[in-house]
């Protein structure tokens, strides 16, 4: 155990992680639930949702960092995997509404609206939580596995791969915009009422979701750290730096890339599933190419190939986003555009690289 823990982080790293976990799992719940709303220390629902949302994004950023920072695979389709996980969870949440929708039908409102009489095949068994949870993992995972297999096998890489993944998420977005696809078209899923029988909007349920997200975030970080410090991780980094040379050394690079790409997609799917009940809506715009590119910039801001940096980057960019869109909505695109340019030009190692350089 100690050997493994030493491999993952040094003493300082574990302390930082411990403090982080303590804030997430002890201080935030107390501030939100036990302190009265009148007190200035009270953590309002707005903040719980915002931080929960950002943690989901941070999980996606870690997944992206594993693929891009360590595997050299810049996917511009990670928003798709995120949205697929979200939709899988969303189907379960829609079934949980039961007959409390506007039309008091067993079917979700949008199906009644389209005059459908029964659930289409995609919705089979989605009233079972375990099935929805399985879909959350399987749908993005299988898609990434099949797509990645074809792409990596025919040696599609670099910007080509990026463009093809972008086309993939674009095609999926068009597909999900259609009502006939069976996922609510433009409006997607919203107006959720319950999860596992619990009302979804109470502070207690929200805090449970918040803590689950926090656990998963830290778990993903440790898993990622474990992977990149293993032999597998080193081969992966070698592939990133000189794929041809690694292949000539006798490694089958396709397997390595496929494994990390699929794992990354699965993590994204789970993040999406945690995101939807907290934010309360999922629609096809999550699959827009712009969203997927934004994921890459979170990682770039934090610093590629650092994992911890991905969390920092996702936090910084998304906090800035919610700040700007409230205070100067006009200038957010300027700010985001500038972040893209300045980080790639002047901070190739991201924020983490900047601090590491200072320490040395």
């Amino acid at each position: 155990m100690s050997a493994t823990s030493g491999r993952l982080y040094g003493r300082k790293g574990w302390v930082v992680l411990g403090v982080f976990a303590f804030i997430l799992f002890a201080i935030f719940p107390v501030l939100s639930l036990k302190i009265s709303p009148d007190s200035p220390l009270h953590l309002s629902q707005y903040w719980v949702t915002l931080i929960g949302k950002i943690m989901c994004y941070a999980i996606v950023a870690i997944a992206m960092d594993l693929a891009w920072g360590y595997g050299g695979i810049l996917s511009l389709g990670h928003g798709l995997f995120f949205a697929l996980g979200g939709y899988s969870m969303g189907m379960y949440l829609m079934r949980q509404i039961g007959r409390e929708g506007q039309y008091q039908s067993d079917l979700p409102d949008f199906m009644v609206f389209l005059d459908w009489k029964e659930f289409p095949w995609q919705w089979w068994n989605t009233d079972q939580f375990w099935w929805a949870a399985l879909l959350v993992v399987l749908v993005p995972g299988l898609l990434a596995l099949v797509f990645g297999f074809f792409a990596f096998r025919s040696r599609v890489k670099g910007v080509y791969f990026s463009i093809i993944t972008q086309a993939l998420t674009f095609a999926a977005m068009l597909l999900f915009f259609r009502n006939a696809t069976g996922f609510g078209g433009n409006n997607g899923f919203t107006d959720f009422k319950r999860i596992l029988g619990l009302p979804i909007t109470t502070p207690e349920t929200r805090m449970v979701l918040f803590v689950c997200t926090g656990f998963f975030l830290i778990g993903t970080l440790l898993l990622g750290r474990w992977i990149v410090t293993s032999k597998f991780g080193r081969v992966l980094a070698a592939i990133r730096d000189a794929e041809t040379r690694v292949a000539f050394c006798g490694y089958n690079t396709v397997h390595y890339k496929l494994a990390i790409f699929t794992l990354s997609a699965v993590i994204c799917g789970i993040a999406g599933a945690l995101y939807v009940p907290q934010v309360g809506i999922i629609n096809p715009s999550e699959m827009s190419p712009a969203n997927s590119i934004e994921i890459a910039i979170w990682v770039a801001v934090g610093g590629r190939g650092t994992l911890g940096g991905a969390i920092v980057g996702a936090g910084l960019v998304n906090y800035a986003k919610s700040f700007f869109t409230q205070v100067f909505p006009e200038y957010w695109l300027y700010a985001l555009g500038l972040i893209f340019i300045l980080v790639t030009l002047f901070l190739p190692q991201g924020v983490m690289g900047f601090f590491n350089r200072k320490n040395k």
Binding site: S154, I341, L345
Partner: protein, 496 residues
Amino acid sequence: MRTLLLAFFLAASPALAIDRAALEKLASGDNDEKVEAIGALLAEGDPEAAAVLAKFAEGEVVVDGKAVEVVVNNRLRSAVADALAALRLLSPERAVRLEAAKALAGGADASMLALVRKALEKETDPDIKPLLDLTAASMEMASGDKQTRLAAIRRLGESNSPNSRTLLAEAATDSDAEIRIAAQKSLREVQGKLAWGERAGLLFAGISLGSILLLAALGLAITYGLMGVINMAHGELIMIGAYTTYVVQNLFKANFPGAFDWYLLAAVPASFVFSALVGMALERLVIRWLYGRPLETLLATWGISLMLIQSVRSIFGAANVQVENPAFMSGGIQAFAGVVLPWSRIGIIVFAVAVLISIWLLLTRTRLGLFVRSVTQNRDMASCVGVPTARVDTWAFGLGSGIAGLAGCALSQIGNVGPDLGQGYIVDSFMVVVFGGVGQLAGTVYAALVLGFANKFLESMSGAVIAKIAVLVFIIFFIQRRPQGLFAVKGRAVDA
């Protein structure tokens, strides 16, 4: 009743050209009688009837020199409009007759039948006669007499207009078996003829979309082939070209309203130069510093595209702006029945070909073109033999961006111009480049045309969204087979 009136009318002295009974009906009959009276007034094709009807449409009928006010509702107004058109059928001028025949072909009241037949007898023009034939047949179809209807159905079967297809489809479900069978036979004939028109229309739509894709992707193919970087701001350079056209249009409107139609001639070079300047600035300020890091270039240029979108929003507003077609670009030609080819789209096809030829000449006949080709093939080697690669990069990037500007200028003539214009084309133009491969113009041309056709063909079968998805999926699979695109430059490097 009508025949009676007609008989009376023929018997009356020629000096009394306007039928008095009809006039009285027009003044005081109920609506049915008024429509009948309109038909009666027409039957002789007297030019004076036109004046009476025009006055009637304004709510006045003069009987025996005395003005009577009448109420004119929509039904009567459209009957008058048809009647006036029918009267023009007898005009000595061909253009007037053609116009009138077109107006009536959409459908007219059966009371005009007598006049249409009369016009048909006199008519010799090959363009107008079939139109009138069709009009007469459609009127006869509405009549109660079975033999007339059967004859009309046979005549409709010889025509090739979508209107007769609609009429026949209606008759094909008639309760009378004989009419049903005749109508079905004629319907098959018409559909066979129409199918050719529709195929031609599809072909045109495919070429049109292909030429648009070609314009959008040409610049991207040059910059990607040359430097191996994906310029995510390419769509925004297209958008800038479109907005430049908008500005030039406004300048012409304000300063030379007389020469407004010619603003496009000034807008073409303006949009090229302006987009090229923006592109060269981009290359100098950002892309140059990211040499050898293609993924970072992709992100940085995406950042630039966001800033360009927002600046256009701040300057021109988030709403779409209006770019008017010059007179010679509006309208279209009727190539087949039911297929109209708009001039603006024909203009874009011609424009795309012209741009393609100029680029080809530039790349194969000039010193800059030689340098661009050499750097594309082997940058290090070109540099070794003294090609100033850095300067070539800047100029080539300017060229690619300028072509994007030209694409924007062309797109402003057929679609909305808004800050998001470029976003809609970016994925498509990437797909053209990926599909065609880089390094050769031919690849881009073939890819643009193939994707244009595939899109339009699938669209006609399964709707626009499914067509788009199918094309994207097709490209994703195509890349498995040929990762370097249709026209790959052959090389021996492993990491080509």
